[in-house]
């Protein structure tokens, strides 16, 4: 007689792990990062390093505080994903403490206060970004114009660590295209007038549109790897095209074309990475479509009427809050329930 250790079924498992999922997400962000660096300079690399360092340190400290397994918590790479998403949202020349405070809010407030990985209601990166956006509006608007020669590493380091903005900053600084749009709208100018400004590029906004396309590329990779479903990105993109398309057809003088909306600001990052974050989104397929649509509608509304030029972060957070409710109403019909013949 030979004896064996027993365990519950199933006895085979797919080679899937949280770490793999997160690693795929990080991989999918690489094209976006590359284009970002090309457009806005190597400052982003500094921000990424800072954010990663802060995130890992805070995560370890918070895990220890909560008495969880520190090592496993760090190895699942979820904190790193939060860090990268956060760093991609802020201007590359932001002072270092913005990153520190943002990630403290992201991991402490949004993640671990709710019970850690998987238990958080709000997307940590977006919470962090929203907090610093509200607290430090000036630092969070220090974007350089894409297409100009971006600041080099030394200049960026001086800005990030010593708070020394590059010389001739006022010639370098540039409103984001969305800001420009808002100002234009406020000044009652027509689109044709302002679109001749260099920040607008071909479709959406110089630099930004390429970054957005690179995010979409990464998103397609996640889709192919089945890390995300098609529903959230489809919900976001289709809703944006539909709504802005209608508005644009109605009055092309006042309303930007759909592609410009889609490819500017953080919309693509949100569609493929942030809104598609499983933890804080919906789980049912129909719920995910609705979630995506909701993010799109709220973003457009905030862009039009909100305080900030790009309301993606707030849109995502609002939808995060609504996600449990949406899930409740979009559960698929269980086999053998209802619809009997």
């Amino acid at each position: 007689m030979k004896t064996f250790a027993t365990a519950g079924a199933p006895h085979l498992r797919a080679a899937a792990s949280v770490r793999r999922v997160m690693a795929d997400v990080l991989l999918a962000l690489l094209p976006g990062i590359a284009v970002h660096v090309w457009a806005f300079g190597p400052g982003l690399l500094l921000q990424l390093g800072l954010a990663a360092g802060f995130a890992l340190a805070f995560e370890a400290a918070l895990l220890r505080l909560r008495g969880g397994p520190v090592r496993a918590g760090l190895e699942d790479l979820s904190a790193l994903v939060t860090a990268v998403l956060f760093a991609l949202c802020i201007p590359p020349l932001c002072p270092w403490w913005v990153s520190a405070l943002g990630l403290l809010a992201a991991l402490g407030l949004a993640k671990h206060a709710y019970g850690g990985l998987g238990a958080n209601l709000f997307n940590p990166a977006m919470v962090g970004y929203a907090v610093v956006l509200v607290a430090f509006p000036r630092e969070l608007s220090q974007w350089t114009g894409a297409g100009l020669t971006p600041p080099d590493l030394a200049t960026a380091a001086a800005a990030v660590f010593a708070g020394q903005l590059p010389p001739h900053w006022d010639t370098l600084a540039s409103a984001t295209p969305l800001d420009a749009l808002r100002q234009a709208a406020a000044a009652q100018r027509t689109l044709a007038e302002i679109r001749s400004q260099p920040v607008f590029g071909h479709a959406g906004a110089a630099g930004w549109e390429l970054i957005a396309l690179a995010y979409a590329l990464g998103g397609l990779y996640l889709l192919w790897r089945r890390v995300i479903g098609w529903q959230v990105p489809a919900g976001v993109i289709l809703s944006v095209l539909l709504l802005t398309g209608a508005a644009w057809l109605f009055d092309a003088e006042r309303n930007p074309p759909p592609l410009q909306h889609l490819l500017s600001g953080g919309l693509m990052l949100a569609a493929w990475f942030v809104a598609a974050d499983p933890v804080t989104g919906c789980t049912s397929p129909r719920g995910r479509l609705l979630f995506g649509a909701g993010v799109a509608v709220l973003t457009l509304a905030l862009r039009r009427w909100g305080l900030h030029a790009d309301g993606v972060a707030f849109a995502v957070l609002l939808m995060n809050a609504a996600a449990p409710l949406i899930d409740e109403f979009t559960r698929p019909r269980i086999y053998g329930h209802g619809r009997h013949d």
Binding site: K2, L12, R13, A14, P278, H337, H340
Partner: protein
Amino acid sequence: MTLLRIPGGLVLPPPPAAAAGPLLPCPLPACLYLPLVQADGRPLQRLAAPGQTVRRGTPLALGQDAAATALPAPASGRIVDLLPLDLPGGGQAPALLLQPEGRDEAAAFAPLPDWQAQSPAALRRRLAEAGLTGLGGAGFPAALKLNHQVRTLILNGAECEPYIGCDEALLRARAAEVVAGAALLARIVDAAEVVIALEDRMHEAAAAVAAALAQWPGLRLQPVPTVYPQGGERQLIQVVCGREVPSGRWPPAMGVLVHNVATAQAAWRAVVHGEALTTRIVSVGGRGVAVPGNYEVRLGTLVEDLIAAAGGYTAQAARLVLGGPLMGQALPHDRIALDARANSVLVLGEDDIRPHAPQQPCIRCGDCARACPVQLQPQELLRLLDGGDLDGAAALGLRDCIECGCCAYVCPSQIPLVDSYRRGKSELARRGAERARADLARARYEARQRRLQREQAEKVARVAARREAVQQEQATAASAAAVVAPGADSIAPGAPAVSSAAVAADNTNPANTASAVPAPSTAMDKSAVLAAIARGRAKRAAAAAAPESTAPPHAAAADGAPAPATGNPATASAAPDDAEARPPAPAQKPAEPSP
């Protein structure tokens, strides 16, 4: 005809070549072990005793099902012992130890080559005496399952799990018997439509079946997608018929019956060749065993002996599984007997079972929901069960979970989801049984209260009536009008008459109630007599307290318990509840005070 795919499910790598290999013999072992327990956990009624010599097919025990399906001796030989044996799912049962003597003489069952002329009842009787139970894995008595007229009979040739190849091997070797068996089963249940469903990857088996079908017009071959768990009964019906089995019901109620292909073949052997069910094909697989393949195994063979026939364990052997890799039962050791349900024995290697990552919290990725063929939301069930909200989980369909394991297979957080659901389901079943018991007690209590009230009311009425009668007599005497008397008698309402009968019941031995009635019979209508008899019974019962008043609850429990005949045979959870649902023994019952 294009088929819908089941929602979710897993597309797994094709089974290793050996899983689909030819049939291999497993030599008759020195000892066969036959646990005296049926698939639903109830004990079998033993017919044979140690010391007895039996032939292959001699019934050793009878099932407690309505068809009294036999447990035939798998070989000729001598019963040498009755000893406790471990069961695959834990626990023990008494088992007969049969020592084959090698000649393998079969008990005489008359072959019925003229089966088309036999009545369905006669055919069912034959299947029951041949010991035919479902060979698909649930082990439900075939004769019982064939006890319903249905429109569609589906033969399930889609393996129930990946890495199992017993059905495919059978189809390749014995397609003609499978198809003939399908025709036979269709005759028993009067099915108008017979579908033999195979996975679309089984080309060789499909060719064999197609060739055999030439003789049987009216039967149809239907390839189904190779998706796990396509071989699940409900999933197969969903795809073949385009309909879903309503939750909590079983398929014959909607006119569809699913049988495993091996069951059909065994039915054919039993009827046309007069052979009892004594062997089955067992898929042996995994890197922990030397020669994987499909072995034809005598029922009652120990796993140990089968593995020895398959070349023994390899150094990698790390987990022993009875059944498939996704739903199988991990065995603590290999001295476990193979019965008709055992479609597969897997010996998994260390590499197969090592988790890919440490268990993590649920990240709500929804992969499990995407994989669930029942369209549950496994992550929500998990959250509710972890929070102790059993009712919430039940409301989200916990009972509909078929425990297929798709969710746990894909979960990146490596959460043992199915373990949670099993625990939750058995807890639900336990609560259900408890509730049934409480309902029963309450019903009994209320019945007793009603009876007491009624008796009280009657007593009051009786006293009043007696008084009235006395008054009336006095009045009659006083008026001394002889003509009026008969009229008053006939006008008198039922009450006085009843009361006099009741008085009789009160004063005489209850057993004589009936004979005591005739006295005032002239004035009594039929209902009054019946009422008196009923009251007499109630009294007698109350006096004797124990025996009579506990008997009916017993019957009620037997009716109310989730009888396996109506339950889903796949969820064998009915068994323990059944035992629990019985009312407490008469001894514990407080004696009812006489009113």
